[in-house]
Symmetry: C2
Subunit: 282 residues, 2 copies
């Protein structure tokens, strides 16, 4: 398939890492960066993530494909404005919530030019300097409400994710938000809360530094994640997140009660139940 002129709106961790892939897999003939943070724009140029920086309007006019990789609150306000400005271009978003976004755009006359996607990859870092080579490969990507996207747009988006080496799944936006709450959003909340717990209780920061094991680092690393990205995700997906978060608090109380009351057998059963995650994760 012919290479495209591709605008990346938001050249941070997600957009920057995609830009590297678009070039490497020969999907792009030109990469245009758009970023409302001038330092990020400059850094993206310096790291050669993109070929040039333009304003949003210039970038839309100059591109075949517009990729939106910005926080999901900005996404909801920016997508309709972008759709108003395009002609035959394709627009793809990479955000972590989908229901509100597809709802906002559902009656737009150019709805078919838009494809809603969520590549299931990220790290706890952010900004263009956090972009990495080889991201997304062998990970899952969810394409939402595919029937509302024009066949040529869907075809190119599938071609792109296929070349990058992603496993493609389709589901509607509601199902996406439900599953994303379970397998991604809740992990970030538990990690943020664990960091706050330990920072609150462990008055000797030096002790954390000296003693923290690989296990602690593993459970707490997501706590380094960027609030500008995660606050709007939690609020947009609040119904699903509150449901899973309330369940999580109940599960923690079960552990608390078993430990407090020396219920050895029940504590063992709770752990054996948790061990069943082995069936699923590696």
């Amino acid at each position: 398939m012919e290479r495209k002129k591709i605008a990346i709106v938001g050249v941070g961790l997600i957009g920057g890492s995609l830009a590297i892939q678009l070039h490497e897999k020969k999907l792009s003939s030109r990469l245009i960066g758009v970023d409302n943070n001038p330092e990020h724009a400059e850094k993206a140029m310096q790291l050669e993530l993109v070929d040039e920086i333009m304003s949003l309007d210039e970038a839309i006019a100059a591109s075949d494909v517009v990729v939106l990789s910005i926080p999901v609150d900005n996404m909801v306000s920016l997508l309709p404005a972008v759709m108003d400005k395009i002609d035959r271009q394709m627009v793809v978003d990479l955000g972590s919530t989908k229901s509100l976004l597809v709802d906002v755009i559902k009656d737009h006359p150019k709805r078919g030019r838009f494809c809603a996607t969520h590549p299931m990859w990220g790290t706890e870092y952010s900004g263009p300097a956090a972009a990495v080579k080889g991201a997304y490969e062998n990970k899952a990507v969810i394409i939402c409400n595919a029937a509302q996207t024009d066949p040529d747009v869907l075809g190119w988006v599938r071609h792109m994710f296929g070349k990058i080496g992603m496993r493609q799944l389709e589901m509607d936006a509601q199902a996406h938000d439900l599953h994303a709450a379970y397998v991604s959003h809740i992990s970030h909340i538990t990690s943020f809360a664990l960091a706050n717990t330990v920072l609150q209780k462990e008055k000797e920061e030096n002790a954390i530094f000296e003693l923290a094991s690989a296990g602690f680092e593993s459970t707490v690393r997501l706590a380094k994640s960027n609030p500008a990205m995660w606050v709007p995700i939690f609020l947009q997906n609040k119904v699903n997140i509150l449901d899973v978060l309330n369940e999580h608090i109940e599960q923690l109380k079960k552990f608390r009660d078993c430990i407090r009351d020396d219920k050895t057998g029940e504590l063992r059963t709770l752990i054996e139940d948790a061990n069943k995650i082995r069936r699923i994760i590696k």
Copy 2:
């Protein structure tokens, strides 16, 4: 320093990984395995973690050093019996809790031959097949109540951990158990509870399998850990663990309430507070 005949009581993940190091760093002239699980004993021989398998009594008689790497409930009952049987041998334990253990042994006539240690390393796997080369290197090890240990024993233990490449810290057993609750034990509880939460709420196991991101795997991987090891740790360290676990539940409720009530600014502050873990972890 002269190489020692060393008995490893419990040739699983912890003892087996230490056995590999003892050989590699030329600390042992002979490695004797003791395990009440005949399959583990056989596997330890097959993997050449140890040179031979003996009964506990034979192993004590044949050794200069006895290393105890067994669940902490068994540790508390076995250590006094081992101390009764030794003559000039040294005894070292590698368990994850320390207060009860040093208390149980504090008036033993041979107390000085014992050194209480906790190398801060482990994985979510268990048994001799989980033993890995290069374990413990560049990790911390805590030596507890060192003043109660004979200088020659303490000297050899420090020599051993030094050769393995561990950072050595000394603290009393109470302080150890407090810090261990914060930087190790609580992570395991949050991970077990997260696994149970997701297994409970996400009825489509296939969705977890397909969509689970690196972030989810990172926060949930400790949920694969062995109940035989962790139940007694949680119960022996219950006072500290209940304290930190109650705090953790409160921290999660703060996130829940902010999300429920759309408190954007407060949610952002909670996440920015959590981001301070960056100062400490990498």
